[in-house]
Amino acid sequence: MKKYVLFMMIGLGILAGCHPKTFTPIPLEMKTLISVNIKDGSLTFLDLKNNKVFTEWKMEQPIKGASLLPDGKTLLLYGNELETVQLYNLAEGTLKEEWKTGKGIVNAIVSNDGKHLFFVDQHKNAVRIFSTTGKELGTVKVGKKPLTLLQNNSGTKIYVVHFTEPFLSVIDVPKKQVIEKINIPKASAGGLIREEQKQLWIGGHGSGKEIQSNIHIYSLETGKLLERIHAPKMPIYFIETKHGIFALSHGTSMIRKYNEHLQETGSLQVGSNPFAMVAGEQELYIASYDSNEIYKVDQQHLKIIEKFPSGNGPFQLIIREGHSLE
């Protein structure tokens, strides 16, 4: 009798072990800030309505980033050490699906038209185009070590910034091929497309011993360098809102604000070695990588409003809007 109990216990144990991990569900209606923490492989969820940390998912996997699918309910996780990209149902807190991509995925974005997913594959040195259901539609070979992906408003053109190449590749999505190369500094990273102004902003770390302290602005039409804006050191993340253009320099932990005339209208030192930000309506959220914090900064006055603790090494921020319950 005792033996049966023991076997049942072991059996249950195995079943429980095989069962995918369930995390705290994220309510559908809650406006949420998702922080991807790469040092400990976790996700931090901030309840933006109540301004507090809601929960933390300790995935304990080498995730490097996330992307929210157009349905607003599914979070796609990737990492260059992972064999698959993982799709989590936020409302249920469960792993919904896995797409076998192979290792090397370092970035993923959803096209602005909501039809495609673009994966940057550093093993294949290519941009891979997927449907939102996980079907691979095509691969476009680019230069070595692609990393940053930018896209135009319609999502038909993507701009690939490489780490080790002195140029940027422009991909035509319908054609699935590189149609143009724009010369930019080596070790560039981060950028911004201002389609109406026909501007392409490019940031970076600087190559070798040199430290990048400028934002390079190129013409979207001609690919010519239009201007350099001084923004020390290492500007690597850009956001444009109705309040202006914001550039984040991780080397000096500075956020700078520019107006239409590319004049600096304000700056603020925030956090320690920040790498990412995301814009709300009136505020910016900035991930401080070294101090494991998320700063909430007022866009208009560039003032820190609040800060929240995050998991270890916040590297990417995503806002998930609340969904009405029908």
Partner: protein
């Protein structure tokens, strides 16, 4: 094939050599290790203090040119290399982007530095292309790692110092080893030489030469062994002497009666003897001498048997006084003949465990002697008493001519005669007391003599009684 074996000297020398070499090399490595460790520790402490001192001048905010210049000035004056690093890339700030850049500090160090901890580095540093001992002190503006002080000293300079030590050490160590090895060889010889001498002497002894002595040079184990060896050699020499003397005695004792027998028988054979009467007399003499020889041979056999430690005694409980009385009975005719007065004083309760025949032989031999040496009309007194709980004492005293004091210790030795000329004529074999001594010895008793010249001799025998034996 003969197995190669080491001599004692080689063994001792080998042991000493191995010991010396192992000790010296071990102490060298140990001192080297401690020296380096202490020195490296000291350098680390110094660098850390220096770095912390420099860092205490930083009060947050971006690192200014003035501060950098000050540090540069200080770097020129300081023995250590001091780098003020504020390039975020060198500080691994861009690490999540997998930049192919070999930064000065790695992610792990950065995490420590962000916590305000000081990082220590010992070993090869690719950036400097050499072995270094370095200390990294963070410059923190709140949680921001604005820069670090990287202080280092090439390890080569530390090793130079230890090699310098080695230059002095190694020749000294060599001389020291050399001296110790020679001293070891001498010591080994000193130990082994007396042994070699002993060996030589032992061979000489095997060939019958007992005279050589080993010179004793020390009072240690070897010296004592040499001493014991000498004593042994002396004992063997004495034993050898005794053996020779004994043989000489035996042959001498036998020769006298033999020459009698030969002489008289020749006289008879050659017809020198005229009358039947004289012939009768000569034959009687021959017979007497033959009996003497017979007694002598008998006694010798007895003695030889008794001197073998394994002689089987037929031990039974005996009433000692009874044995004495039985023996004395046989002497009555002789006593009367010599008109000797025999008095006894015997304790009848004394019981000994002994061989009847042998004890009888003891009494026989002693009383025989007493009668032989006591003149006409003398006295013999025999006394048996309990001496203490364990032993009894038998005292046989006569009023004979006594024995000179200086000859007392020799009584009981084979063929020892107090008066050589006279005794032989008086019929003894010279072995009687030797046999007595041996029998008493076998019974675990004691025999001694007291005597005053002209006054008489007392023989004392002490024997364990049966009570005593049991108690033991």
């Amino acid at each position: 094939m003969r197995r190669w074996s080491m001599t004692l000297v080689q063994k001792i020398w080998f042991t000493i050599s191995v010991g010396v070499i192992v000790t010296i090399s071990f102490s060298y490595f140990l001192s080297h290790y401690f020296y380096q460790k202490l020195y490296v520790d000291n350098v680390e402490k110094m660098l850390m203090e220096e770095g912390k001192n420099l860092a205490s001048d930083y009060h947050g905010g971006p690192i200014t040119e003035q501060y950098r210049k000050q540090v540069e000035w200080y770097n020129e004056k300081s023995t250590a290399e001091i780098l003020l690093v504020s390039n975020p890339r060198e500080l691994s700030a861009c690490l999540p982007f997998h930049i192919d850049y070999d930064s000065l500090i790695n992610e792990e160090d950065r995490a420590k530095l962000l916590k305000g901890e000081v990082v220590t580095k010992v070993g090869f540093e690719e950036r400097f292309g050499r072995q270094i001992m370095g200390v990294i002190v963070p410059l923190l503006d709140e949680q921001r790692l604005e820069g670090v002080f990287y202080l280092y000293i090439p390890l080569a300079s530390i090793q130079e110092i230890t090699t310098e030590v080695a230059y002095i050490w190694i020749p000294i160590a060599f001389v020291f080893v050399f001296i110790l090895l020679i001293a070891g060889k001498m010591m080994a010889d000193r130990i082994a030489n007396p042994l070699k001498e002993m060996e030589a002497v032992a061979y000489k002894m095997a060939h019958g030469d007992y005279k050589t002595e080993i010179p004793i040079r020390s009072n240690d184990e070897i010296g004592r062994l040499a001493k014991a060896f000498n004593i042994m050699a002396k004992a063997i020499a004495e034993e050898d002497m005794r053996k020779k003397e004994f043989l000489a005695n035996v042959s001498h004792e036998l020769r006298t009666p033999l020459s009698y027998v030969k002489g008289y028988s020749e006289a008879i054979l050659e017809g020198i003897v005229q009358t039947k009467q004289s012939e009768q007399k000569y034959v009687k003499l021959i017979h007497r001498e033959a009996s003497r020889m017979e007694r002598l041979v008998h006694d010798l056999l007895d003695l030889a048997q008794l001197e073998g430690e394994t002689y089987p005694l037929q031990k039974v409980p005996l009433v000692f006084s009874q044995v004495i009385e039985d023996t004395l009975e046989k002497y009555e005719p002789f006593l009367q003949e010599k008109n000797i007065l025999l008095t006894t004083e015997l304790n009848p309760e004394i019981i000994i465990e002994a061989d009847y025949d042998r004890i009888e032989q003891v009494i026989h031999n002693i009383v025989d002697n007493a009668i032989r040496y006591t003149p006409m009309g003398g006295n013999i007194h025999i006394q048996l008493e309990q001496m203490n709980e364990r032993d009894c004492q038998l005292v046989i005293s006569d009023t004979g001519k006594g024995i000179p004091k200086e000859k007392l210790p020799f009584l009981g030795e084979r063929f020892f005669r107090v008066d050589k000329a006279r005794t032989r004529s008086e019929g003894g074999t010279g072995l009687g007391l030797a046999i007595v001594k041996q029998i008493i010895h076998l019974h675990r008793g004691r025999l001694y003599f007291k005597s005053k010249e002209g006054k008489g001799t007392t023989v004392v025998i002490e024997l364990p009684t049966l009570n005593g034996e049991w108690e033991e």
